[in-house]
């Protein structure tokens, strides 16, 4: 017969001298340092542009905190960072990345490349491997050739460069839409009798903007944590340097523009 010491604590009979009330037991409280503020972000990289968009709702459970919270931040050197998950961690991460990119500029007297910033962000996330930032970041920028780049991460710093990605509470709704509309999955050349798949190519910016807006308006219909407003941030190639800009250290070759438009508030 098994002795009582072999059983897990929960299965052991309470010792006879134990006071029967709950109050005499050691009480354990569970406080979580994490919370979830909802929302969704979406990044798409093109031939010479990057689009990073997020909704502007911030929620906690069934409460809407505010309808005007931004999830996409300009982090300096022509780069942008979208964060979704716990907003306190996300904003802290954006501050830290902004600071580090500024440090890089001051230390090396040049703007950080998007690929170097991508590794740096990975290290920042991994440094908190055992108390992770509870947010999923998307880093966007133009690479050395002026081609759009989106870097996607998990909570602890695994990353890869991708063409398009949705993160957040409506990611499951938007991802298959992107597969179909950006990567042209399950689309075939007309008249090929479903034999010849369409090849995904470079989409013009105007088309992608439409796809992004459609993705968000659809997500709003089915996901209660998404809505209120759309913050659409675009990086394009800046026009060639003028005479005055020739010695301008702040010139990055990237032009960032922000567009705010309404989404349904219900």
């Amino acid at each position: 017969m098994a002795s009582s010491y072999m059983l897990p604590y929960a299965q052991q009979a309470p010792p006879s001298y134990a006071h029967p009330t709950e109050a005499s037991q050691p009480r354990q409280h569970h406080w979580s340092p994490y919370t979830e503020n909802g929302g969704v972000i979406l990044g798409i990289a093109g031939k010479d542009y990057v689009i990073l968009a997020g909704d502007t709702r911030s929620s906690e459970g069934y409460n809407i905190n505010t309808r005007t919270a931004r999830k996409v931040f300009s982090v300096g050197s022509g780069l942008i960072l979208g964060v979704v998950g716990m907003s306190a961690d996300g904003e802290e991460l954006a501050r830290k990345v902004t600071r580090k990119i500024d440090d890089y500029k001051r230390n090396h007297d040049k703007h950080i490349t998007v690929s170097a910033a991508a590794v740096m962000l990975s290290r920042i996330l991994y440094q908190k491997r055992f108390f992770p930032y509870y947010c999923q970041p998307l880093l966007g920028g133009l690479d050395e050739n002026g081609v759009g780049a989106i870097y996607t991460y998990d909570y602890v710093g695994s990353f890869e460069r991708e063409q398009s990605r949705a993160f957040g509470s409506a990611a499951a709704l938007i991802t298959p839409f992107l597969d179909n509309q950006i990567n042209l999955k399950n689309q075939f050349v007309p008249g090929s009798n479903g034999e010849q798949p369409k090849q995904a190519g470079d989409l013009p910016r105007a088309t992608v903007e439409k796809i992004v807006k459609d993705a968000f308006t659809s997500a709003v219909e089915r996901q209660i944590e998404v809505g209120d407003g759309l913050q659409l941030v675009t990086i394009t190639r800046a026009p060639p340097r003028t005479e005055e800009e020739a010695d301008d250290d702040d010139w990055t070759g990237a032009a960032i523009s922000v567009e705010l438009s309404p989404l349904k508030k219900d």
């Binding site: 409280h29 406080w31 994490y34 919370t35 906690e60 409460n63 505010t66 907003s87």
Partner: protein
């Protein structure tokens, strides 16, 4: 010479004696706040045309016991900022101490260096976020209200025990987030509506919300403190909820003297 690198740069044992590590072995365990004890309930804040109004009642509860009925939960910080705290009262009082010290350190009016609401809010959010990172939270949700002395631009922001921050033209903490925010948003859905709202209407709106909270939040009180912050400074006062009607209570089965 000591050949072991770990000894380099340290006081030599043969000169100064061995390092006294006794202070590291405290007999008491490290304790963290794991639940609030004496608590305050909601704080309300609304932006209006040229300022912002903030209000909080004067009750401090011990569980369901209304333990103290004359507690000031609003604090003026500097010349153009008022903070209001819900949650643990002792943590709130500790934050008041931190803010007093912050002002002594940082406020130099003669050098035109002031702390206004955005600075106070950022400071509070950093303190609260740091404490949550240490798993030792300050158990509060706080509204920071203020106005810019030059532009009279109103400021209103929220921060809580996890360091979550956000801003809106109308905000409420605690029970107020459920009961008052829907009423406030009906009148002040966005910044444009706040810019059209008069001070008089804002005061009425807050009064109405405090009354709803008094009716429905069992941890609320009948007296409350309010503060209006505008370009020219802070105006504060106390109010009692008037014109109460408990007629709705007759409709509730099991309430008061009824034969059920």
């Amino acid at each position: 010479m000591n050949q072991f690198p770990h000894g380099w740069g340290r006081p030599r044992d043969d000169v100064y004696g061995a390092y006294d590590a006794s202070y590291l072995n405290s007999t008491e365990p490290v304790t963290h706040t794991q639940r609030p004890i004496v608590t305050g309930t909601s704080v309300l804040g609304v932006k209006f045309k040229d300022g912002v109004i903030i209000a909080a009642d004067n009750i401090a509860s011990y569980g369901s016991l209304a333990r103290y009925d004359n507690v000031e939960r609003l604090l003026q910080v500097g010349t153009h900022t008022v903070i209001g705290a819900g949650g643990d009262i002792s943590d709130m009082q500790y934050l008041h101490l931190l803010l007093d010290n912050l002002l002594i350190r940082e406020q130099y009016p003669a050098d035109d260096h002031h702390l206004y609401a955005p600075q106070v809010h950022t400071y509070l959010s950093r303190v609260l976020y740091q404490r949550r990172n240490k798993f030792d939270p300050l158990w509060n949700s706080i509204l920071t209200a203020g106005a810019d002395p030059k532009t009279s631009e109103p400021f209103l922001s929220y921060v809580d025990l996890r360091g979550t921050t956000f801003s809106a033209p109308a905000l409420a903490t605690g029970f107020g987030a459920h009961l008052a925010v829907p009423i406030l948003r009906r009148y002040v859905p966005d910044d444009a509506a706040a810019e059209a709202l008069t001070q008089e209407d804002a005061e009425k709106l807050v009064e109405e919300c405090m009354k709803v909270l008094w009716y429905r939040d069992a941890r609320s009180g009948v007296t409350y403190s309010w503060a209006v912050i505008k370009k020219d400074g802070v105006e504060t006062g106390n109010k009692k909820i008037e014109n109460q009607s408990w007629k709705f209570a007759e409709m509730i089965k099991g309430y008061g003297a009824q034969n059920i």
